[in-house]
């Protein structure tokens, strides 16, 4: 017994910790703690100004470090293969950081941090970001799961932060319960995969499939794949696991909604790509069709669901469901082109949605109609600097040319045709046709609003002032929001006409996953 212990002890050697690759995560963790501490200070300045500033600083540092790592392009899994620091994870984490910055800016005048306490609010946010990055970098099942949870748990809280508002709590609860069901399913799925493959490492699972005696059609494995697919599909709000999305997006404070819409999706799809294209890559023939069906279903449901919405947050939520369907197409084909297209579209998606949500934030704070369509009437003449970003965002989401959205869709369709899923490309197209109905309605309300516009049927409940109504905030008093909207709308146009930089990154990301078609 004793000697066994000594044996074990002698075997135990500390793992090599590559601090350089790890630095962004450390920065985030540290930042989150510091912010929490600073938030405990009494002075309003510390809470209202210093905390956001520090969080933003943290993210900027993380971005800087990420770029630094990206520049020196060595791409080895670190710490016993727990984390993969490659173009995919780095690129996605960049998106996440940007989304985080946006959220911090949008939260400046929001009510949520007031209620939750700035320190807590921001440290939770940073914690969630950390979770996302871990998720994006996850190279084995455990890291994947813990990352997912670290992503979700702060979000459950953040959704509920406007405690005095019933819908906020409802959103939190729904998200928590459904989310936990989702992650439990995922857990079970991962367990089965582990059981089938006998390893937690993506690489080794892939190897096992590749000839390590594990057949790609083993029921245990496939069921595991099915369960984990369900879990991830839930996180990326793919139908039929999407239903929490509209409710949570509507109930949550709008800055958080923005964050969830763009960042969560990015992280979820990153891991989707990594797990399915790398670990399960060789079973693509099995899971491809199933996911394709899910994608189609998602596209349809998301778009038809959005048509009926008057609340813009809700509409964007539904549209994000549809977008998830488009993105899934890139996963389905399981090809390098698919990875590129997905990555590209994630970036584009970030630009468009941030622009749109920023305008929603700006409006709902001043209009007593909250985020209802009616609050946007005649914005074109009243506040063109808000109407234009919204218009561009809508057109881009609808996939009009000269916007990044068009190229994104083009890329995705290209990928799906390339991967012999032409009908999926057609589905994407049909979906965007349907989506015109609600995107154009927003544009019409803003520019042609003086004339009666066919609104969707009366909402089942009274339209209520939605999140974040802070009385002191009015249009001119929140330049930062308008700035965000304009900035991202401009980016949408620029990348719509000159997308090469994004393509560069996308190509880099595509090369991250080894042995793809």
């Amino acid at each position: 017994m004793i000697d066994l212990l000594q044996l074990a002890a002698s075997e135990a050697k500390a793992p090599v910790i590559d601090y350089r690759e790890l630095s962004p995560l450390l920065a985030l963790a540290g930042g989150s703690v510091v912010v929490l501490m600073v938030g405990l200070l009494r002075s309003a300045f510390a809470r209202r100004v210093l905390v956001p500033a520090l969080s933003a600083l943290t993210l900027l540092v993380a971005i800087g470090l990420t770029i630094w790592i990206w520049e020196s392009g060595d791409r080895e899994p670190i710490i016993e293969g727990a984390l993969a620091v490659d173009a995919l994870s780095l690129g996605v984490s960049m998106l996440i950081y940007v989304a985080g910055l946006v959220t911090i800016v949008l939260s400046l005048r929001a009510l949520a941090p007031e209620v939750a306490g700035h320190g807590e609010y921001h440290s939770l946010l940073l914690g969630s970001i950390l979770g996302m990055v871990v998720l994006a970098m996850a190279e084995n099942l455990i890291t994947l799961f813990i990352g997912l949870e670290l992503l979700s748990i702060p979000l459950y809280v953040l959704c509920a932060t406007e405690l005095h508002r019933r819908t906020s709590l409802e959103a939190g609860l729904k998200y928590l319960v459904i989310g936990s069901v989702g992650s439990a399913t995922l857990l079970y799925g991962l367990a089965m995969v582990y059981g089938a493959a006998g390893s937690m490492q993506f690489g080794e699972i892939g190897a096992a499939l590749g000839g390590g005696g594990l057949s790609a059609t083993d029921p245990l494995l496939l069921t595991g794949i099915a369960l984990s697919a369900t879990g991830l599909a839930f996180k990326s709000s793919v139908a039929p696991f999407h239903q929490w999305t509209p409710d949570v997006y509507e109930g949550a404070p709008t800055p958080i909604t923005t964050f969830m819409a763009v960042a969560t999706k990015a992280a979820a799809f990153a891991v989707f790509l990594r797990l399915f294209d790398q670990a399960f890559g060789l079973a693509q023939l099995e899971w491809g069709p199933a996911l394709a069906v899910l994608a189609t279903l998602t596209i349809v449901i998301g778009n038809v669901g959005a048509i009926a919405q008057r609340s813009l947050k809700r509409m964007l939520a539904w549209s994000s469901v549809a977008q998830a369907g488009y993105l899934l197409a890139g996963v389905v084909v399981g090809s390098e082109l698919g990875v590129r297209a997905t990555a590209f579209y994630l970036a584009v998606y970030l630009l468009m949605n941030v622009a749109a949500f920023a305008v929603v934030v700006a409006r709902e704070r001043v209009s007593e109609r909250g985020d209802d369509l009616a609050a946007f009437e005649d914005l074109g003449t009243a506040q063109p600097w808000l109407a234009w970003p919204m218009t561009i965002a809508m057109l881009s989401l609808a996939g009009f040319p000269a916007t990044a959205g068009f190229i994104g869709k083009f890329y995705l369709i290209d990928a799906s045709v390339e991967g012999a899923y032409t009908w999926l490309g057609i589905a994407i197209v049909v979906g965007s046709v349907v989506s015109l109905v609600y995107y154009l309605r927003v544009v019409a309300v803003m520019w042609m609003g003086r004339y009666e516009i066919e609104m969707p049927g009366p909402p089942r409940r009274i339209v209520r002032r939605v999140a974040g109504t802070s009385p002191e905030a009015d249009a001119r008093a929140q330049p930062e929001v308008a700035a965000i909207a304009i900035l991202f709308a401009a980016a949408t146009i620029v990348f719509g006409i000159w997308p090469d930089p994004l393509f560069e990154a996308a190509r880099d990301v595509g090369s991250a996953l080894p042995n793809l078609r």
Partner: protein
């Protein structure tokens, strides 16, 4: 100058006139517009003479002069030039058209003097003359079709010249559409010829035709019949004739020029022009002969009962054209064109006289209201009577020779043609009768108030009203102005009518059997290719024909005299006895009703069906509504399952999970 450059001049003059009168419509003072227009036509008449003279210098076999201005359209195997063809036929037509047109222009200068649309009128008139000359000078089918459609357009514009008249515009659209039908026929015919002979120039086609087609070749017959569609539409032959009587809505000089002397004879010209084709396709030729004969009989019969002065002359025009068509269809080209010429003279004359009378009647056209104008307007009376005599084929009048020559040729062909000839003589009797029915009813008997007025020395002024419907005119666009014009009062009208009267009398001398064959000889170069070139009735036969014709015309003039001078009222008895016949005739053989039921209504029905049913139910309802309906359904479904109940969401999640796992389990085995 060469004949062809003269030919171009013929076309240029009217264009110049058109441009001046139309662009200068505001500037031109008084009646200058009319005079400018007339001068232009005179110009092209003189150029036509020039062309004639120059052409006669060429040896007979070289009298087909083609000159091309520029390529009109050339692509693939199609090659069309903007080219004119100068040969005896076209020059002859130019002379007739330009000559008569000139006189009618002069007449119009006075007749339309009081009309608000004076300049517009002459612009249209010049446009018409240009189009007509283009039609006859064209050297290929495409250009022919262009001229063809242009005359149609000009005639449309002039028919609905007084466009505030509902009847006028209606008549205009009717005429236009019928002409377009003709155009389409020609287009298709042109294609058939192109596809078989590879060209569209007259000379080329006629060159190729004998090689390209066998006798009575199916395609060729089709082509000829389609050509006939065009010809009949223009020349108001069965069954495309109904527009001509309505065309009388236009000003009287227009009726004289377009709907009597020139445009309506274009069909005859076309058949004559395409004689090589028709001789290769005798079936088509025979059909056209039969149609011509039928038309001439039908029109003459209707002319017996119509009481509207101008419409009587219109129907007589139809029947006279029937003679011409018959002539050119039985290869009596000279005769047919001869009748075309004489008819132009006397029919124009008749219309001018009628116009003068209508002027005196303050716009009324109903013969029942007329009578006793003999003393009031002697000049009109004389000239009109001359016209009537010529029309009736009274011995030694121009019409006498031309008509009988046509019939003589017809009978000479023997066989079935005999029947046609006999019908022709029968119709001749009717012709003479209704011609003098007009004369007697208008100029003899008790003078009507308007006549007395005129005798007392001033023209009657009635409230201008639409002769067809009797509703008061909207004088805004000037229905024959406030003052009316009668030949007695205005030099220009006399100046125009006198020469025509003369020609109506002596026009026949160009082809008196046995004595002269100027026309025949002149046209020879065009028709020498004809198979029937040297088959002609013997002089004896012709003389017999003349005698028969003379007897018939004199006899039926006598009958008319008895019925309308001696025993008035007998007409009423006859009408009462043969009510059926009368109503049949006075309803113009029910053609209008037939077309109304056959084409107009169905089209309208189809239109409203398309608008009401197809548009709303199929296009909007099914296609648009269907697709949106699906989306709506999907939307309400998505909303329906979005109940807000957490456990329901979880349920769907589990369901989806079950489904997914099931799929994978199936995939695994």
């Amino acid at each position: 100058m060469s004949a062809t450059s003269f030919g171009w001049l013929v076309l240029v003059f009217p264009v110049v006139g058109l441009l001046i009168t139309s662009l200068g419509w505001r500037a031109l003072p008084g009646r200058s517009a009319g005079w400018i227009a007339s001068a232009a036509i005179l110009g092209s008449f003189l150029s036509a003479i020039g062309a004639l003279v120059d052409m006669q210098d060429h040896p007979a076999e070289e009298r087909h002069l083609v000159d091309s201005a520029w390529t009109y359209a050339a692509t693939a195997d199609l090659e069309v030039d903007l080219a004119i063809l100068i040969d005896p036929l076209s020059v002859f037509m130019c002379l007739v058209v330009a000559g008569v047109s000139f006189l009618i222009h002069v007449y119009s200068v006075a007749y339309m003097g009081g009309d608000r649309g004076y300049a517009r009128y002459f612009a249209y008139l010049n446009l018409f003359v240009f189009s007509m000359l283009l039609l006859v000078l064209a050297a290929n089918f495409v250009l022919l079709i262009v001229g063809w459609a242009f005359v149609g357009a000009a005639s449309y514009l002039l028919i609905s010249f007084w466009y505030r008249r509902g009847t006028a515009t209606a008549a205009g659209i009717k005429a236009f559409v019928m002409n377009v039908i003709g155009d389409v026929g020609l287009v298709i015919a042109a294609f058939l010829l192109l596809s078989e002979t590879g060209q569209l120039d007259y000379l080329g086609v006629f060159e190729e035709a004998p090689e390209a087609f066998g006798r009575n070749d199916g395609t060729l017959v089709a082509a000829c019949l389609l050509i006939l569609v065009g010809a009949f539409a223009k020349s108001a032959q069965l069954p495309l004739h109904t527009w001509l009587p309505d065309a009388m809505e236009g000003p009287t000089p227009v009726s004289a020029l377009i709907h009597a002397a020139t445009m309506v004879t274009a069909g005859v010209y076309l058949i004559a022009r395409c004689f090589p084709l028709f001789e290769l396709a005798p079936t088509a030729a025979d059909i056209s002969a039969v149609v011509g004969t039928a038309t001439l009989l039908m029109a003459a019969s209707i002319a017996l009962v119509v009481t509207d002065l101008k419409r009587v002359i219109a129907y007589s025009t139809m029947s006279q054209i029937g003679y011409m068509v018959l002539g050119v269809s039985v290869a009596a080209y000279g005769a047919g064109l001869f009748h075309l010429m004489t008819h132009a003279f006397f029919k124009a004359l008749l219309f001018m006289g009628a116009g003068s009378v209508i002027g005196a009647m303050a716009g009324a056209q109903d013969m029942d209201r007329m009578g006793g104008f003999r003393k009031a307007m002697p000049f009109t009376f004389v000239t009109f009577t001359i016209g009537a005599l010529a029309l009736a084929g009274f011995p030694l009048m121009s019409g006498f020779f031309s008509k009988d020559e046509v019939l003589a040729f017809t009978i000479d062909r023997g066989g079935g043609y005999l029947v046609l000839g006999i019908v022709g003589y029968l119709a001749a009797a009717l012709t003479a009768f209704y011609a003098f029915r007009m004369v007697f009813r208008v100029f003899f008997g008790e003078p009507v108030p308007e006549a007395r007025e005129l005798e007392r020395g001033h023209v009657a002024h009635g409230e201008p009203m639409n002769p067809a419907t009797g509703e008061p005119e909207d004088t805004d666009v000037g229905f024959p102005g406030p003052e009316h014009h009668v030949a007695e009062r205005s030099g220009p009208m006399k100046a125009a009518m006198a020469p025509l009267a003369l020609l109506a009398i002596v026009g026949g001398i160009v082809a008196v059997p046995g004595l002269t064959d100027t026309l025949e000889h002149f046209l020879e170069p065009t028709f020498e290719e004809s198979r029937f070139h040297d088959t002609a009735p013997t002089e004896g036969a012709e003389l017999i024909g003349l005698v028969i014709g003379a007897i018939i015309s004199i006899a039926s003039i006598g009958v008319a005299f008895l019925m309308y001078m001696r025993r008035r009222g007998i007409t009423l008895e006859l009408r009462d006895r043969f009510t059926a016949v009368h109503s049949f005739l006075s309803h113009k053989w029910y053609f209008d009703e037939l077309y109304d039921a056959g084409f107009v209504r169905p089209m309208a029905t189809a239109g409203s069906f398309g608008r009401r049913v197809v548009e709303t139910d199929f296009v909007q309802g099914f296609i648009v509504g269907g697709s949106t309906g699906i989306v709506r359904a999907g939307t309400s479904f998505a909303r329906a399952i979005q109940t807000g109940f957490l456990r329901a969401y979880a349920l769907l999640l589990v369901l989806g999970l079950a489904g997914l796992v099931l799929y994978f389990l199936i995939a695994s085995s």
